[in-house]
Symmetry: none
Subunit: 211 residues, 4 copies
Amino acid sequence: MPEGAGSTERGGRPPLTERGARTREKLIAAAREVFEERGFLDTRIAHIARRAEVAYGSFYTYFPSKEAVFFEVADRLFAEMTSRADGPGAGASPAERIRHANRAYCEAYLRNAKMMAIVEQVATFNEEFQELRREHRATSIARTAHALRRWQRDGLVPDDVDPELTARALAAMIDHSLYLWIVQGDDPPAAERLLDTLDTLTRRALALPAE
Amino acid sequence: MPEGAGSTERGGRPPLTERGARTREKLIAAAREVFEERGFLDTRIAHIARRAEVAYGSFYTYFPSKEAVFFEVADRLFAEMTSRADGPGAGASPAERIRHANRAYCEAYLRNAKMMAIVEQVATFNEEFQELRREHRATSIARTAHALRRWQRDGLVPDDVDPELTARALAAMIDHSLYLWIVQGDDPPAAERLLDTLDTLTRRALALPAE
Amino acid sequence: MPEGAGSTERGGRPPLTERGARTREKLIAAAREVFEERGFLDTRIAHIARRAEVAYGSFYTYFPSKEAVFFEVADRLFAEMTSRADGPGAGASPAERIRHANRAYCEAYLRNAKMMAIVEQVATFNEEFQELRREHRATSIARTAHALRRWQRDGLVPDDVDPELTARALAAMIDHSLYLWIVQGDDPPAAERLLDTLDTLTRRALALPAE
Amino acid sequence: MPEGAGSTERGGRPPLTERGARTREKLIAAAREVFEERGFLDTRIAHIARRAEVAYGSFYTYFPSKEAVFFEVADRLFAEMTSRADGPGAGASPAERIRHANRAYCEAYLRNAKMMAIVEQVATFNEEFQELRREHRATSIARTAHALRRWQRDGLVPDDVDPELTARALAAMIDHSLYLWIVQGDDPPAAERLLDTLDTLTRRALALPAE
DNA sequence: AATGAATGAGACTTCATTCAT
DNA sequence: CATGAATGAAGTCTCATTCAT
């Protein structure tokens, strides 16, 4: 039976009642659990609904598709991954700041390892999600680039490197190192030694003094 | 990883006739094309068979599954990605060698961009493929680590860093920077400036002189 | 899982083997039976497949949708409805010809009553089918208009009426009278009396002599 | 058919409060709009409720089903379609009366074109609605038959035709001609020429003088 | 070997209707 | 009465794999 429109009208509206809001939350929580257990591809709407203890159809009251819940889950993940932990204190040196940031990121990564894996997975085939991630990355890169520029102004970092590209490359190094270790299970090294190496390489790449 | 794997364990029987060998090749070539066009997930056996201009059923004469052809395609890709280009000459400095290697890798990446994207995709959900990739990465890392160890022995690189971990981190930086730029379309910078940045950061991370 | 294309690639290709052609025929015959028994709307692909004694999926090997088989069934119906029965003989008068044509059409209508009902049903919501029907009607109207023009030239029919519009109006009268009687069950009159009335009205509307 | 049917048998309870009556009216008006826009089959209860600006559940306070509102809407449509416009004046000739009636009907048809299409649609699958329509048609036919009988008594129309069947056939001609033109979009002729043709054919079919 | 038809389990989505608040 | 969330049966379509020729 031809329908035509109609598909855009359902799902994804914000719930109007308290009860609806609760159901929606249950679905998001359930979705995250199931995604972590089975990955995005092997997750079925039925799994999510069952885990949330709602009827199959209720999923579609709140989300038009698996992708849609995933976006919601990922949004919250990104928020938590980039929520600024307390800095290392006002007078900290660049080297200390880098060290601190790397540790904090690594801890967040470990805390959310399963989801980080799924995020990477979805990014390989969903363009819309790629875009979302690009934006998040851009924000984070901009922050680092800002710091680099400050350090260059203060003569702490050589100014023959582009702060943007440098921020990107270093972020790529940290990110992917953690990914290969934590997600892809690349011959897990001792966490401490990996982090120390990353700190040292970053520090030297920026020609920063050890302390 | 044994050469030409897949033909005895994963694929159908090895082709006995000349004609069979040709059909098999057609299928592999067709598979690569279709994978590049649609990604792994959206590729159907039917697409591959049609592109290869063989009957649907003939696919299964040579490969037991989509994964199996993919392994074959990826195998060849890895071979070409890691085929040592001519080195930069016998007397080249470490900085020159790094620069040369980065350029060569980037060129190979660009040449195979589409497949590199698919490789990343499949690595997110296929354990067997993850393993294959791990092995390739290990080989490549070992090579770099070997060079680092030599340079440390020669006093060119500080020996307070672990050559293994360092090789990994630097490879992660290069690899992921290229991935984000070429595959994920992160706000494409000028290739030259990106490469220069990567060279410089690598060089400084290893505390190598500019020339 | 997003697919995108792919849906246009399947179903509806002409079968390449004898066996395929047979299956296709079985499906068309089964479809007509089921349509007649349940109407278009209440027919399920499952019904058709079951009736044809093929697997559910086999339906989609030959047709992309319920609409598609319906078109095929309707096409054949139209062919049979408009296949020219033997005319009433060379020297027949216009009145005789009209009488003959009306009877023949009525017989065909009765023979295909169930399908004629479904045809009317589908025409109320499927634009593509409306178009198909328009074409068939146009052909048939053109034939009648041609005869009218000839009779006007011969001075048998007043030439103050437009042959096209007249053909249409008279066809509408016959068609809809049969539809209301046979399909909608309007207080079934004796067939003979209805046909006589239609003959007479047609004849008088064209100002033709009784014989 | 009892006036305002549907409110006691088919609908919910008759509304007791003023406010309830208003809500009911809003739903009927909304239903007609949506039916006209999407047809009966593609109309969802949700569409009607949204258009009427009432809650989803409120629909069921007043109507037990989509069919029920439709009956109500159709009831009103039939009332307006058959509301006798002012006749052509006391001393009008049969030809003038026919001409007048055809024009009036055509105007009403054009005014309600969208709904007439839906009515035809629903009549193809809803038996209860078929019955309702049959009754309306019978009333209308009886009226025409009555006039024909009078004209036969007055010697204006040949009495070898059955007034009932004649009324039916002529009504079918008018009705279906308008339907094919207005609803099915059959190659729209100029309205005037179509009406003239219908008038002339009707007049001649009844062997009435031009004036 | 090659061909292409056959199979059917599996996942998605819709929506009329009921129900709790 | 009004509201909007909850339910789940029903139907659609896909496609990897098997099989007959």
